[in-house]
């Protein structure tokens, strides 16, 4: 299992809510996770489960009407939530970087690539002159697999394809050699072939630079391909945590199990065609969550106890945690 003993990032009981006209939406409700040195940790869940908000909270980028209302975010042991604005700026792009889902709109259309990449470097290191910054930018662009990096420096974002732009984003994020890279659905907006390339690139860079990565995605395939450990989120909570192999072999939470079951696979027995499985019910309305277990309305294993109280995250051995009163056991699976 990858990762050292000292946690690079530790999130403890983070609570981030959105104060909207419709009511208070607890987007992140007491989420705890940790990322070790050199680890790639996956954070999976469907849209709206709070995984993006969690990552934005780390960098203090949660937009109004969202607000972090409690918990701790420890980077190298220091609580980021107590940071002044200046220290936060020092953290962002420098020690903890983030890349986003939409490469098409995440780059400023009126500035050249070169300007945006060198800006990432020079805003954190005043000593770097413009010439040196350009050299390092070219070097970084080459490292992320962009051909003819010198000429690309003068290009504008609209002149590049989606895959190239995402590589530029990665270059911008890694140019200061951060300890942690948060990647929020970096490949969702890209072609499958480009997706594979970008993921390979990220893994390769992670090994070379030694950063840890938090990879946020709703795609289990990406998780399987890339991550060392996985957290599964549902309705603003962590419902399962495990090593990646462990999770795919022994999913304990009914939700995780449902997700794995719904992956379409080739039917071995042609005479008995199988229906595509999908989890019954709908994505919950975060403003009106049920009491008790949040997954209960959709759970096939739900019993009365599940609707009355919310289960705690319980250690199931092997670093495998699950939040469920009736986790899957070997006989019941598949």
């Amino acid at each position: 299992m990858a990762g050292g003993s000292a946690s690079l990032l530790e999130i403890r009981d983070l609570r981030t809510s959105f104060f909207t006209k419709r009511g208070v939406v607890p987007a992140v409700d007491s989420v705890s996770l940790r990322v070790g040195q050199g680890e790639i940790v996956g954070l999976v869940g469907e849209s709206g489960c709070g995984k993006s908000v969690t990552s934005l909270s780390v960098l203090g980028l949660v937009a109004s009407p969202g607000k972090i209302i409690g918990g701790h975010i420890l980077y190298h042991g220091e609580d980021v939530l107590g940071f002044s604005a200046a220290r936060m700026r020092e953290l962002r792009g420098n020690k903890v970087s983030m890349i986003f889902q939409e490469p098409m709109t995440s780059l400023n259309p009126v500035y050249t690539i070169g300007k945006q990449v060198t800006e990432a470097l020079r805003s954190h290191d005043r000593m770097v002159g413009s010439k040196e910054a350009r050299l390092r930018a070219v070097e970084m662009l080459a490292r992320v697999g962009i051909s003819e990096p010198e000429s690309r420096l003068e290009a504008y974002p609209h002149q590049l394809s989606g895959g190239l732009r995402q590589r530029v984003m990665i270059a911008m994020a890694l140019i200061c050699k951060p300890g942690l890279l948060i990647a929020d659905e970096p490949t969702t907006a890209l072609d499958v072939t480009i997706e594979a390339q970008i993921l390979t690139l990220m893994r390769q860079l992670q090994r070379e630079i030694g950063s840890s990565i938090v990879l946020i995605t709703h795609n289990l395939g990406v998780v399987a391909e890339t991550c060392d450990r996985v957290y599964v989120m549902y309705a603003g909570r962590i419902v399962e945590e495990a090593d990646v192999f462990e999770l795919f072999d022994r999913p304990l939470h009914p939700y995780t199990n449902g997700l794995l079951r719904s992956i379409p696979r080739k039917n071995e027995d042609e005479s008995a065609p199988r229906r595509l499985y999908s989890i019954k019910g709908n994505v919950p309305d975060m403003a009106r969550l049920p009491a008790g277990c949040k997954f209960a309305p959709r759970c096939e294993r739900c019993v009365e106890a599940c609707t009355r109280a919310e289960p705690e995250l319980v250690d199931s051995g092997n670093g495998h945690f699950v939040r469920c009163f009736r986790p899957m056991s070997d006989e019941v699976k598949r």
């Binding site: 999976v44 990406v222 997700l259 379409p264 989890i279 019910g281």
Partner: protein, 310 residues
């Protein structure tokens, strides 16, 4: 070596899995509930409400001017010249001893008429031309666009001045002048709406069952333009009012003894030092009226915003 679950790569999508049962049927906005929801969001906007109330008050004032005006606005009494504002003459008297307040109240008629009528006419012309241009396209569209570009490029006041020169300076001709100047903006808006709606399915469907073009334009395309046109209407009215006031101020609009606010300001100019109320107060009336329509129009636009965007 890692055992990769690579077969999952292309197909594992949690959203599809989580989607579960099919999405609920989307609410279809009925015409009634559309306007009701617009009205509701409009009411929440305090400034817009103030605007609406003031506009209604102005309309009432205009219609029932004789009832509200304390004195006869045309009565000349040289003994009462330049009286400062008092309890008898709330806003004082002018150079002919006429009560300024009464003249302002009667002036509301002119202003509202001049605000609304040319706007209605010019928008009517603009709507028709815009529909035709957008719907039929081709040379007609091209020609219309060139002409409207040219009209739009004129500073509106100057164009109005030119028309007034040709027709002669009086209130009636102002209606014509303002109508001529104002159609181009509406035409463009309607044209672009028509262009974007032209290719939608419901138009294709209507054509397929043989509906006459004019019916399609009026019955299908036009109703979709209504929200935008409503906003345009309320926001064009103050422009008309200001234009008339300016033209009358310059002497090329309403002529004495009409109680056009602009004319009143112009007449009061020479006496600014001694009797400032003569020139200043009609201007206040203009300001209040324009503000009221602007609040109303802004409020309408904000209330209709989600529908305008779609």
């Amino acid at each position: 070596m890692r055992t990769k679950h690579t077969s999952l790569l292309a197909t594992a999508n949690m959203d599809e899995a989580a989607a579960g049962s099919p999405p609920q049927e989307m609410d279809v906005l009925e015409k009634d509930s559309f306007w009701r929801s617009v009205a509701l969001s409009f009411i929440k906007n305090k400034l817009a409400l103030v605007g609406l109330i003031v506009v209604i008050l102005l309309v009432v004032l205009a219609i029932f001017a004789p009832a509200f005006a304390p004195h006869d606005p045309y009565k000349v009494d040289l003994n009462q010249q330049f009286k400062a504002p008092s309890t008898t003459y709330l806003v004082g008297t002018d150079m002919f001893g006429r009560d300024v307040l009464s003249r302002i109240i009667y002036g509301t008629r002119i202003s509202l008429l001049v605000g609304i009528v040319p706007t209605v006419i010019s928008m009517g012309i603009g709507i028709i031309l815009g529909l035709i241009a957008g719907y039929y396209g081709g040379k007609i569209d091209f020609g219309l666009m060139i002409v409207s570009d040219m009209v739009l490029s004129f500073p509106s006041l100057l164009l109005a001045m030119v028309v007034m020169y040709s027709l002669g300076a009086n209130l009636l001709n102002i209606f014509i002048a303002l109508s001529v100047v104002g159609w181009a903006g509406t035409a463009r808006v309607v044209r672009s709406q028509t262009l974007s709606l032209k290719n939608k399915e419901f138009v294709e469907a209507s054509k397929a069952i043989g509906t006459r073009n004019s019916k399609i334009m009026l019955g299908h395309v036009f109703p979709n333009c209504v929200p935008q046109l409503l906003v345009l209407f309320t926001l064009n009215i103050p422009g008309s009012i200001l234009s008339e006031a300016s033209l009358s101020f310059l002497g090329i609009g309403a002529q004495p003894p009409a109680s056009s606010w602009g004319l009143m300001v112009s007449n009061g100019r020479e006496y600014l030092f001694n009797a400032p109320w003569v020139a200043i107060s009609p201007g206040v009336a203009i300001l209040i009226t324009v503000l009221a329509f602007n609040f109303l129009g802004d409020g309408l636009r904000d209330a209709l915003d989600p529908y305008l965007k779609s």
